[in-house]
Symmetry: C2
Subunit: 294 residues, 2 copies
Amino acid sequence: MNTAAAHADLLADSIDRAGSPVCVGLDPVVGRLPEALAGYDDEAERVEHFCTGVVEAVAGVVGVVKPQSACFERFGSAGVAVLERVIARAREAGLFVILDVKRGDIGSTAAHYAAAATGLGAHAVTVNAYMGASSIEPFLDAGLMVFVLVRTSNPDSGVIQGEALARGGTLAEHTARLVHELGRAHVGERGLSGVGAVVGATRADEGAALRELMPDTPFLVPGVGTQGGRTEDLAPMARPATSAGGLGLVVNASRSVLFAGDGTDGRDWNERVRARAKALADEGRALHGTRSAV
Amino acid sequence: MNTAAAHADLLADSIDRAGSPVCVGLDPVVGRLPEALAGYDDEAERVEHFCTGVVEAVAGVVGVVKPQSACFERFGSAGVAVLERVIARAREAGLFVILDVKRGDIGSTAAHYAAAATGLGAHAVTVNAYMGASSIEPFLDAGLMVFVLVRTSNPDSGVIQGEALARGGTLAEHTARLVHELGRAHVGERGLSGVGAVVGATRADEGAALRELMPDTPFLVPGVGTQGGRTEDLAPMARPATSAGGLGLVVNASRSVLFAGDGTDGRDWNERVRARAKALADEGRALHGTRSAV
């Protein structure tokens, strides 16, 4: 199981089981946690109870979760210990775990980051290609699947990713070519590469062009919900229906699911989280249609 | 003290006190630790004793240390606890601490990373600008000094930083313009900006052009020693002697100092580390000449 390609197969299986490409991002923010958890004085402990509850709420509804490392690291070593336990719980629940760390360093340093992510139990990590291929390969060598930042969802990302021109295209397209080249050697039995790409839902307009450059690349798509991206607009980013494979999409929503939170309808916070995740999974299922993940 | 500009002043003071721009990188690798530390069974514990010994060995010889987060993160929460204690020891010893994390994420996520770095006791952090200004500003808002990756020392970095063209220059130059723009609002009383740049020693040929684009920007220069960069070649990266300020350089060496290690001359490993740091500091002092850091 310990290769990037095998992890790509596992991702495909997880999405097929859920029948939807939706991924729930675990971005706990203390200030927004449910009232019901206010009893825990220690913030890291409150975050752990929240994330464990979310994992249990969305298990069986979606196939993938994406813990945001920063939200745990901010509590120092105690937070990293919480992250370790939350990932273990997610794996027990049969969820594919993309650890969102956006690391970008080279050689032995990247190998250390890969060892850290493997030690935490991640199946895949997000990485940054600014330093080139040598900032990606050590993660693949360690058997992790990666998602390389290509075109991100934040409004001002264009200053680097859009304006910077390379070989007649944008930096995003340049990075996309690198991702495709690196990925060729890591395509799994189910047709998806172990080298994925992060392409924001708010970049759907550029999605078709990026898909052409990365035909077998799974796209991790943040920005749905709170950031304004809409699931129904993601079709251009999907792999063509004519391809042997499926959508090749992992559609992430974080705050819009996590902070469905407390309400006035009498339901517990985790019931509301599950309901919100289910509604999103159904939207994703519509996009998914009858196609399998590969 | 809690602004990026004030931290830039503190960096200038630290370099002036040492009289040399040399920075020692703390990149502990278990396989290469001195024999003398083999007695500690726990690897994280061995790393802690090594790093504490290095900090004590180089204190007073150099003014800056750069812990490599990955080397500690690889031990999970225990490693992060070690990192916390090593940074605390470095601060006690009066050293300026650049935490090498190369984080690159946006908004609230970047704010979490900034909180994590502040909690660990860092004065400055390395950051990645692929996602744009919004991946840098939250660190400045938190009062941290930053060093943005511009032109890195690894051999294959040119595929992204060199080939990608923007506004008629390389991506490195494009990023350099962003760094300069962001830095204008964060120049300290001693003339150095709180927004620094990482420019590899192996890129000395491009150093002059990058310096023109970033006149007040402190350059963190890795790649001296093991990676083949030479201190005496860094003059083109320095701020012009005609400028009110000084060199604006922080010259980092890691392995060549750390793993001066055991030997046959009867000295303890930490004496050899101190001697190697001193030799490098003297090289840097020659470059430094009679100029102050600002």
